[in-house]
């Protein structure tokens, strides 16, 4: 009986003492965390991709809560809708920004870009790029060894077995930019996703002169500036023999796609064009 009593009293004393120490320690060493961080984190896509430049979604949420203005903060995965939700929680105004997606800008498939030599070294774009210009006469284009695929944590990029070029799965792509960093040729760009995922872009990064790159690849941008003249919105510029379409100015009218002589300008996710009704003249005089 005595033994039980002593144990009980000792336990109560130790427990009370510990409780007192812990109480004061928790007061002394308290780290205040804004409860809004948790709320903001819940509103984010939880991809933890790092595309925003912060370590994961919680890092971004923390930055959003601390920031005075949300102008320079953007979740590339969620885009404006997500940022508006975040802004509502924090009582700030969201910066304007659009959801982006990775775009592989090379159209040099096997049949359009003939191989001039054979590479049998390590299957890594970075190493091949370090060694030489690549298996084709185009030293700018895709090497096809798949560094972007290895870098993607979301399984969103794959090699199309027909063209042997990488393609992006828009559903899976979080626009984190890992593939952009992995590509030694800087072919991949994060582009505005566009309404209904519709995009128009120049599918080439070759800066050689037209006469040179035409020989290397049939799908190369030759810098002819036809698209620049066709565009009514000043969205297209040609620098170093290469056209670039500004996604913020582009109205997706598709006129440039039609005039490009090498089909280097690509339209994505548009409904098929109406087949042209052959005119009577065309029927009468078939092309020779």
């Amino acid at each position: 009986m005595n033994l039980i009593l002593i144990s009980l009293i000792t336990l109560v004393i130790v427990g009370t003492l510990s409780a007192v120490i812990l109480f004061f320690a928790s007061k002394k060493f308290e780290v205040y965390e804004d409860p809004r961080i948790d709320e903001v984190e819940l509103a984010l896509p939880a991809a933890n991709c790092g595309g925003c430049g912060f370590p994961g979604c919680r890092g971004f949420a923390n930055a959003c809560v601390k920031a005075d203005l949300l102008d320079n903060l953007l979740c590339p995965v969620g885009g404006t809708p997500t940022m508006e939700k975040v802004a509502a929680i924090l009582g700030k105004t969201a910066g304007q920004g659009d959801a982006t997606v990775a775009v592989v800008r090379c159209g040099g498939s096997c049949d359009l870009r003939p191989r001039t030599n054979q590479y049998d070294g390590v299957s890594s774009c970075a190493i091949a790029h370090n060694l030489y210009g690549g298996e084709t006469a185009c030293s700018w284009g895709c090497l096809g060894l798949g560094d972007c695929i290895v870098s993607c944590k979301f399984d969103a990029i794959y090699i199309n077995p027909e063209t042997l070029l990488p393609e992006v799965d828009e559903e899976k792509c979080t626009s984190c930019g890992a593939c952009v960093k992995a590509c030694p040729k800087a072919i991949i760009e994060l582009r505005k996703k566009g309404t209904k995922s519709r995009r128009i872009y120049v599918n080439c990064v070759n800066q050689d002169k037209g006469a040179v790159n035409k020989k290397a690849c049939e799908a190369a941008c030759i810098g002819c500036s036809k698209c620049v003249k066709e565009c009514a919105f000043d969205a297209i510029t040609v620098t170093n023999n290469l056209a670039y379409i500004d996604p913020n100015k582009c109205t997706l009218c598709r006129k440039c796609v039609a005039v490009c002589p090498t089909s280097a300008i690509v339209e994505l996710n548009f409904p098929p064009r109406k087949a042209k009704v052959p005119t009577k003249e065309a029927e009468l005089e078939p092309a020779n």
Partner: protein
């Protein structure tokens, strides 16, 4: 017989073109003279389209200290200044000249008499070498005048001439020594004067016995020049290995040869120095070896810089039918070419045609941890470890493991029984770590 102390391999020599006298290559129809250099800043063009140029005329002015002048190797009209594909498959700026005749600058002494006396001061000699656009002809094409201007506080004690030619197949330096022995020795004495030393060692591997005997006989008439026969071992032509082999000093990690009092120059560079100083002739031609197991008329050719490799190869009987790989340079350190339209640059030592049966890589197997790569590495590195770190992007660890000491000699990949591409990964790691180190400055 002496050689370097750590590592090294001895690949089969295959010096088929040894002893075949040099031929003078035909002039190209259009010369494409590169303005860029392997190292350093590209030169700035001083001619414009339509200009008439003579052989030896300045085309490109060095931009910065680590850069070299570029001279015309042909006479004719400048067709354009544009980008041209170089040995790497990337485009670099070059000057295109349509060749008309072969008119040399009057200032160049074209006589074959050997001028032994040099009355210039060291500063004048270095200025002359810099003006003549001389770069190291061993392959790295580092500007020679930079090597001859030691940093303040450092003093050269000995000049070492690199006549090793440890790469299999190549014979251009060997042939140059046999044909231009006396000129080379005059060049050596000029270089000795330029860096103010009274001792020079010409290191030659013992597989070139005729060249050793020839130079030894000639060296008796010069003071302070010693010809040293060395045991055949690759990569003895590496600067640090050669210093170890000849004078037994080890250059510390990250340091340059002047730290141990040595200045190393290639034997072909020495000949170019002779021509520049004594004959007033800038560097616009060199010997290259055209060789391969199935090559019909292989040999050594005097080629003007800017001649397309195809033009030279044609004179050697054309490309063999069974060619699987074309290499610019030797088989150990050369670069695979994707086209013969590439023009001869200052650093091109030869073209090697490897038959298809030998050219393909063998299937890679798992690492056995046999440490053969460790025992052959002449820099004392651990290539298997560096490869793994390169694959896993462990750049900090690579830097700590002295990746920047790697001389890319390829001994590790050559010796690996599992055919692992050690050098590819190590080289990629070296490039990346080098970039990281540069960005810190």
């Amino acid at each position: 017989m002496r050689t370097f102390k750590i590592g090294g391999v001895h690949p089969k020599e295959y010096k088929f073109s040894a002893g075949i006298g040099t031929k003078i290559s035909l002039l190209p129809k259009q010369a494409i003279i590169p303005l860029g250099h392997y190292l350093g800043a590209p030169s700035k063009a001083v001619v414009t389209k339509g200009d008439l140029v003579k052989v030896g005329q300045l085309l490109g002015q060095a931009s910065g200290f680590v850069s070299a002048n570029v001279h015309s190797s042909v006479s004719g009209k400048v067709a354009k200044i544009d980008d041209a594909i170089d040995a790497s498959g990337y485009k670099r700026p070059a000057i295109f000249i349509d060749v008309e005749g072969d008119e040399w600058m009057e200032s160049i002494d074209r006589s074959s008499t050997i001028k032994r006396e040099c009355t210039m001061t060291p500063e004048e000699i270095i200025k002359k070498i810099s003006d003549a656009g001389i770069v190291g002809l061993g392959g790295a094409t580092f500007p020679t005048h930079v090597k001859l201007s030691p940093p303040p506080g450092k003093k050269a004690e000995v000049l070492i001439i690199n006549a090793i030619e440890c790469e299999p197949y190549l014979t251009c330096d060997h042939q140059l020594m046999l044909e231009k022995g006396e000129e080379i020795l005059v060049g050596v004495s000029i270089l000795m004067k330029a860096i103010n030393v009274n001792r020079a060692i010409i290191g030659i591997e013992n597989n070139k016995k005729d060249a050793i005997a020839h130079l030894e006989r000639l060296a008796k008439t010069f003071t302070g020049i010693e010809v040293m026969a060395l045991k055949v071992q690759y990569p003895q032509g590496g600067e640090k290995q050669l210093i170890d082999a000849t004078i037994g000093r080890q250059v510390p990690s990250g340091a340059i040869p002047i730290e141990v009092g040595a200045v190393v120059q290639n034997v072909a560079t020495t000949f170019a120095v002779y021509e520049a100083v004594q004959k007033n002739k800038p560097l616009f031609e060199r010997i290259i070896t055209i060789t391969g197991k199935s090559m019909a008329q292989q040999g050594n050719f005097w080629v003007r810089i800017g001649t397309a490799l195809a033009t030279v190869v044609e004179q050697a009987g054309g490309m063999p039918e069974d060619t699987g790989k074309i290499v610019a340079g030797g088989p150990m350190m050369g670069r695979s070419l994707s086209s013969l339209d590439v023009s001869v640059a200052k650093g091109t030592a030869g073209v090697l045609f490897i038959p298809t049966i030998e050219s393909a890589r063998k299937k890679m197997k798992n690492c056995l941890r046999c440490a053969k790569c460790v025992s052959v590495c002449p820099m004392g590195l651990e290539p298997y470890l560096l490869m793994g770190q390169s694959e896993n992007a462990m750049w900090t660890e690579m830097e700590r493991n002295r990746i920047m000491d790697c001389i890319e000699c390829g001994c590790c990949a050559f010796t690996c029984p599992s055919n692992r591409p050690l050098l590819d990964h190590v080289r990629y790691g070296k490039t990346t770590v080098g970039g990281i180190i540069r960005s810190r400055r």
